[in-house]
């Protein structure tokens, strides 16, 4: 794929829930989706629960490492990590780990609103112009790009689904809040996800 000309500065600011719905609508093969802390997993939940969704309720910054673990465990399943910019900033080193291991089945989507939205919208220290796609490229993920707009995002998601990764898509966000909140029952979320991954069989109805 040719390098996108979209930069952190001219990417359209989009609506996280709309993007999440567009992603989910393209999933046909029980792809795993790991939603990061707060709004990233809230909008995944709001887009409609799937057995292959994992909603991370704490452990800020670990959506990508969790997705990496899933990707290593099941190399034939595509795995998407949905992570906030503030969260990624807390765990930037994980991009080097992903690059070093180069899992073909992993795609990282970063929701960049420039702020810690869920705690009141305070700007992150990176909001002055840190370019996450450029960071990802410098970490060894040369295909890391910004999505120009919704149509470009759809193309990029399809590219993730059809080609080997690891992939990285930066998404500039508007300031709309999440639609609803995930039901916070961690043991149940874990149980359902394991069944969705085929890693747990149980006679208890799930």
């Amino acid at each position: 794929m040719s390098q996108s000309l979209t930069t952190a500065h001219n990417a359209k600011r989009m609506y996280r829930f709309d993007l999440t719905q567009r992603l989910v609508a393209r999933l046909r093969n029980d792809e795993a989706v790991i939603g990061g802390i707060g709004n990233s997993n809230f909008d995944l939940w709001s887009a409609g629960h799937r057995a292959q969704n994992f909603y991370m309720l704490g452990s800020m910054g670990l959506a990508i490492p969790i997705a990496l673990g899933v990707a290593l465990a099941q190399p034939r399943r595509k795995v998407f990590a949905l992570e906030g910019d503030g969260s990624l900033l807390m765990q930037l080193g994980c991009l080097s780990t992903v690059a070093a291991l180069a899992p073909k089945n992993l795609a990282i989507l970063v929701f960049d609103n420039g702020v810690y939205q869920i705690t009141g919208g305070q700007p992150t220290p990176a909001s002055g112009g840190t370019d996450y796609a450029a960071i990802a490229r410098a970490c060894g993920l040369p295909g890391a790009v910004w999505a120009a707009d919704e149509a470009d995002f759809e193309r990029l998601v399809q590219h993730c689904l059809e080609t080997d990764g690891p992939h990285f898509i930066g998404l500039k966000l508007d300031d709309q809040p999440p639609v609803s909140q995930t039901e916070r029952d961690p043991a149940q979320i874990r149980d359902r996800f394991m069944r969705g991954m085929g890693a747990k069989k149980s006679k208890l109805p799930g």
Binding site: I66, L92, G93, P186, M197, A199
Partner: protein, 180 residues
């Protein structure tokens, strides 16, 4: 005439066998000098997928995700690494009931030369205890297999995280001789 008994296996040989016997294949770690023979042996054995991570937190995320998708792992670290983990342990493996396994090389005690290590050592047991997390100290070669094997099995069967602490009594620790 009686034959000489076989020389005892080193702690890292025992640990390696226990990991294999329990199908623990994924081993992310942040290195520690004392763990070197174990790390080298794991790298040399194609049974394992092993690699360094930038932070111990990341490694906890990786083994948690892998276990939920059907692959078992353990994180290797030193005491100072464990001290970075309280938040993610509480909110990921503890809250979600995931058997994140940890093997911690114990620095900061029994001849520590670095006061920073000695200070951070003090935080390890209080954190383990306040999280109610299963943990065992391995200090004797003859107990190493039993402690490691049973701790790993219990964690997996009960879906709870657990830590194995490798004491300097077992590993020899890291020693610097004081100046005269």
């Amino acid at each position: 005439m009686q034959k000489d008994p076989a020389p005892p296996r080193a702690w890292h040989e025992i640990v390696l066998d226990v990991l294999k016997a329990n199908d623990i294949r994924l081993v992310p770690y942040v290195p520690d000098n004392v763990l070197k023979p174990l790390i080298n042996a794991i790298h040399a054995d194609p049974f394992f997928t092993t690699f360094t991570t930038a932070r111990e937190e990341e490694a906890i995320g990786i083994v948690s995700g892998a276990w939920m998708a059907g692959r078992r792992g353990i994180v290797l670290m030193q005491t100072s690494g464990f001290a970075t983990l309280a938040n993610v342990l509480a909110s990921l493996p503890c809250a979600f009931q995931i058997p994140a396994l940890m093997m911690v090389s114990e620095r900061g005690t029994l001849g520590e030369f670095n006061i920073g290590q000695a200070m951070v050592w003090r935080t390890m047991r209080p954190v383990l205890e306040s999280l109610g997390m299963e943990h065992h100290v391995v200090s004797r070669l003859d107990e190493c297999e039993f402690l490691c094997d049973r701790t790993i099995k219990q964690a997996l069967m009960t879906q709870q995280p657990a830590a194995l602490i490798l004491s300097p009594l077992l590993t020899g620790g890291k020693i610097v001789t004081p100046k005269a």
